[in-house]
């Protein structure tokens, strides 16, 4: 609704926003006044209220009074098992703090800097493990290797989620006359460098499925990063169509889910070994 006083009628969207107290137009009193004299709008609003009230019939099953404590009891062992990763993350952050030098890191961005450190730690670990192969591995080495792998899994999972956010925002944007994608562009630029490192690491580790999706993601991110900051509506539609046609969002989500599943399994394995 643009001008309530001259109003013809309130739209369904107006009424939904009004119902939820999110009405951003003229004051609620003006809307209420309009509805008091407009039978059709009043009728539609009453129908809407009836439908939304009906949605409240779905109730959430009650939890016990001790529910919070129960959740904690179930969660606590998994948190304990997650501690090796805490060590690696602290280690990576420590390295980041020590090695921060704008001359070296600034050109590739903070996301890529973290990626470099995570990947370096991962590859260094693999190299070290490789040199130790003739000797029997003990339990400590095995747990360390698992912890290192989990650091990489968590890092790649976070990277995929950040990438998803950029893609989702673009796909869900309603094109106006011009669309400003400068924020998405900036984030995509930062993600490209990190993506490249994760892709190479995945390929070297024999994770060809992950590497393939990261390869496709990289091309999409590069396309976004190289797009103008402001796109006309047809240009934006074209970009969005290309993203959707590649199905990259779906592929990234699938890999992200698989990585989370592997993270969970890794935690269970560590918990089993430590018990």
């Amino acid at each position: 609704m643009k001008e309530v006083k001259k109003v013809k009628h309130l739209s369904e969207e107006d009424l939904i926003l009004y119902h939820y107290g999110e009405w951003g137009g003229p004051s609620r009193a003006v809307v209420a006044e309009h509805m008091s004299v407009c039978g059709p709008c009043r009728s539609v609003y009453r129908d809407l209220q009836a439908v939304l009230a009906a949605a409240d019939v779905v109730e959430v099953p009650a939890r016990s009074e001790a529910y919070e404590a129960e959740v904690w009891q179930r969660l606590a062992p998994s948190l304990a098992a997650a501690s090796p990763e805490g060590f690696w993350l602290r280690f990576v952050e420590h390295l980041r703090g020590c090695m921060w030098s704008p001359g070296i890191w600034a050109p590739i961005g903070a996301t890529a800097a973290v990626a470099v450190l995570v990947v370096s730690a991962f590859l260094a670990g693999r190299f070290w493990s490789g040199r130790q192969q003739p000797q029997p591995q003990n339990a400590v080495q095995t747990v360390s290797a698992q912890g290192r792998d989990r650091v990489l899994l968590v890092a790649v999972g976070d990277h995929l989620e950040r990438s998803q956010m950029v893609l989702v925002e673009l796909v869900n944007t309603n094109p106006q006359r011009t669309v400003d994608i400068s924020a998405e562009r900036e984030r995509a630029t930062d993600l490209v460098a990190a993506n490249r490192l994760y892709r190479l690491t995945a390929a070297r580790s024999g994770e060809s499925g992950v590497a393939d999706v990261l390869d496709e993601l990289e091309r999409t991110l590069i396309e976004i990063a190289n797009s103008p900051s402001k796109l006309s509506s047809p240009e934006f539609e074209d970009l969005r169509r290309r993203i959707e046609a590649q199905g990259i969002l779906f592929k990234v989500r699938v890999v992200d889910s698989q990585i989370h599943a592997r993270e969970r399994k890794a935690i269970e394995n560590v918990a089993r070994k430590s018990s």
Binding site: E12, G39, S43, V51, A54, V58, L75, A76, A82, L249
Partner: protein
């Protein structure tokens, strides 16, 4: 609450597990409620609660105080629920249509003729079933937006922050959910007493 959340997060980041316990106990019931609305299954909702706090614990250092801890944990919970929903039902971006029967008819349309007394419908559980069917047919993103707005009372701005969507996209998600609910439920719950012919809708 927000200040004490921030303090608890800071202590948890420093390795204080009890501080994280405070956050778990403060938000677990709310997270369960959201998870159940999203998954419509008690066991799945419990899995989402577990997964949410596990993810939160692992990423605690990434929490930036720009948003509240509540918004952040809801964001993780919504993602965990969406992941599970996709895994279970293969929901994708396009909204899932309400399951069709073998002869291709919409089961909602085949339900008994609208009863003039909504109370009876409510008592028989049909309305509940219909609401659940409609919510299940929505894409995870649209459903999450609606659940957060309608059941959890979050503002559209907060929901946008949870889902990583712009304001207009968040509003559109809520509109789509309400439109679908209207389409399926109005024949049951609305009595058309007043003439509506003049309304553009």
């Amino acid at each position: 609450m927000e200040a004490s959340d921030a303090a608890a997060v800071a202590r948890a980041c420093a390795g204080d597990t009890d501080a994280f316990r405070v956050l778990v106990e403060r938000y677990s019931r709310k997270v369960f409620r959201l998870a159940y609305r999203m998954t419509q299954n008690e066991q799945d909702a419990e899995d989402v609660v577990q997964e949410t706090f596990l993810r939160a614990y692992r990423r605690l250092k990434q929490f930036e105080s720009r948003s509240s801890f509540g918004t952040w944990i809801f964001r993780i919970a919504a993602n965990a629920a969406m992941d599970l929903t996709r895994k279970r039902g293969g929901h994708e971006q396009a909204e899932q249509s309400i399951p069709e029967t073998e002869d291709g008819a919409n089961p909602l349309a085949q339900m008994p003729a609208p009863d003039p007394t909504p109370d009876r419908i409510l008592l028989s559980g049909e309305l509940k079933h219909k609401v659940e069917s409609v919510l299940a047919s929505l894409s995870p993103q649209v459903r999450t937006a609606f659940v957060l707005r309608h059941y959890e009372g979050m503002s559209i701005e907060e929901i946008g922050s949870v889902l990583g969507l712009k304001l207009s996209a968040t509003k559109n998600s809520i509109f789509r959910a309400v439109q679908k609910l209207r389409k399926e439920l109005e024949p049951l719950v609305v009595h058309h007493g007043e003439a509506r012919a003049a309304h553009p809708d």
